[in-house]
Symmetry: C2
Subunit: 345 residues, 2 copies
């Protein structure tokens, strides 16, 4: 057990919003506080952890949802809490089976709001084919919470023999994106800022486990999967590159972003590559599987496409991902450092 707090307290005396942003500070918290305290290895930082019970492999994951506002175009905190956890299981290649639901409610929350969220959560679980097995409700005094926080934990079964993990990534592998980027984050920001566009930007919040099942059923030898939530695509590729010890090259012109989302990003000063998505993922597959992977994913989202390649090995932790921009110049794509969009999920 450590006797002195390993976080430099002169620099970070307090927890910042960015410590929950899925970027560099989140990783510091994980590496300096949680992993040593919990006696856990770094593989625990993957979306879901795999364990074995009586010769069957299961995946286990947890996520808390603190999104503000509770309702947004394309979803709400209830359906989001199901999709997020279902997707974390899918990213481990597991079939989502069971979830738990823990509510932390703020005293004074309108009862009808709770009811609407519960209905949406139940409906989403049914749509995803997962059973809500157990739950818990706590209420905190007025001003000590913010309406509704939800934790969902999920259990999935691994019904195949593939190992899907960053350590499976190989030089030459292709990066396949499952659809367009940035809609969840910009839908939330548009509501918060009261922005109006010609068409309302809808969140991409959706389950992706059926996409993954389709790839597995088709025999695609998936090396790694990652959903593009907090920190967006940029943070996801950096995290994988670090864990896998590889460099990657992405081409910006290949990355699909809807015109409305692009406009909102420019207006608000965001880079869509760092914006959170809740229904998009990256599949890393060997080059010979690229075409078939894209074809299968396009049956779900017409904009699914290959966006880059694993270019080499590297023992560095920085400068691993390069992006060839739309004007042709390459630049380094770093992990998100601060907090771009607090409470996006």
């Amino acid at each position: 057990m450590n006797l002195v707090c390993p976080v430099p307290l002169d620099r970070y005396p307090q927890v910042l919003l960015a410590h929950g942003g899925g970027g560099k500070l989140s990783q510091q918290l994980l590496k300096q506080i949680f992993l040593p305290a919990f006696g856990a290895s770094e593989t625990g930082s993957h979306d879901a952890a795999v364990f074995t019970a009586n010769q069957s492999s299961l995946a286990f994951t947890t996520d808390s949802y603190v999104i503000n506002p509770l309702f947004f175009p394309g979803g709400d905190i209830g359906s989001l809490a199901v999709h997020g956890t279902v997707n974390d299981l899918a990213m481990a290649g597991a079939t989502p089976r069971y979830i738990s639901v823990g509510f932390i409610l703020e005293e004074g929350l309108p009862m009808e709001t709770l009811w609407r969220v519960a209905q949406s959560l139940g409906q989403a679980a049914q749509n995803c084919g997962v059973e809500i097995l157990t739950g818990d409700t706590k209420v905190v005094d007025r001003g000590k919470g913010d309406g509704i926080f939800i934790n969902t934990s999920g259990i999935g079964s691994l019904d195949h023999q593939q190992t899907i993990h960053p350590n499976q990534v190989q030089v030459g592998d292709r990066l396949i994106l499952s659809g367009d980027l940035g809609r969840h984050g910009m839908a939330i920001m548009a509501v918060r800022q009261g922005l109006e566009f010609e068409t309302t930007i809808e969140s991409d919040s959706a389950p992706v486990h059926r996409e993954v099942q389709a790839l597995l059923s088709a025999g695609i030898p998936i090396h790694c999967l990652r959903d593009l939530t907090r920190g967006g695509l940029a943070s996801a590729v950096n995290e994988i590159a670090q864990t896998s010890g590889v460099t990657m090259a992405l081409r910006e012109t290949l990355i699909p972003v809807e015109a409305e989302v692009q406009a909102a990003c420019e207006l608000l000063g965001f880079d869509p590559l760092y914006v959170a998505n809740e229904g998009r993922f990256l599949a890393i597959v060997p080059p010979e599987a690229e075409q078939k992977t894209v074809e299968i994913l396009q049956t779900f989202h017409p904009q699914a496409t290959a966006i880059g390649t694993v270019t080499g090995k590297s023992a560095q932790t920085l400068g691993l991902v390069s992006l060839e921009s739309s004007i042709g110049a390459p630049r380094l794509l770093d992990m998100i450092s601060g907090e771009q969009l607090p409470r996006i999920c």
Copy 2:
């Protein structure tokens, strides 16, 4: 799907602290909102739910911890979050194996506080023999949380053939209490109120899975187990009596309460039978197993003792539990109705 909120909104337009208190209003929320929305049966209201994966039976549970203050005599939110979930698994007769940890932190939380809680949580997990398999951290803006909230979900394995569930309770069964009552709740209240007694009241926060394992190993045919958290002993026996369709008789003089705890209860106007415990449980066993159960539990806590009997069948939902008080007169022991001690766990 319901089209109208089934909670009477004229009476309960908003969520109250008591909706999280483990008593009547908590049950209403469960029955009127959550169970219908989640398509779940009422068996889900048991401490942990059991499912089967490839012929092995597993238990799954979740709990959020919002206790205030974060540190108290005998424990802190970190160790409590492990003990509570380990105990919920134990109450289903499961051996606790894996837990997940979800933090919701408030911006501005001192980093050292987080570190101390994480260390304590990790230490408690190690002491309980459970592995922390996966985690998540969210940060909410200042004033929208309260320092630290923790959700832990747990997975346990059922390594025996017994069915431990309220529906196994039979007329003639004995109620065995695993130790003295009221210490957790009164330890928290003493800190909140700034009360000082000759000796500091320490919380009973502790894992109880080893007690349960000892009973199972000894071949005790356990019918039902229930930990005595929110709502205390009184709510637990009422909940079991309702689910089992039985009446029960308890003798107050047999129920152990430490003198300091009794004094604190009298001073603050609490009934120790309604006060939350975090390391005490009730075992319901057939009469022929009473003596052996008490003997085994006394090797863990000298005050473990038989406190009552299942007296008959009943289809009522009220007036199921009678208490013979210390002056000999019987009275009905009802479930907690309001919120006696908010944010006790």
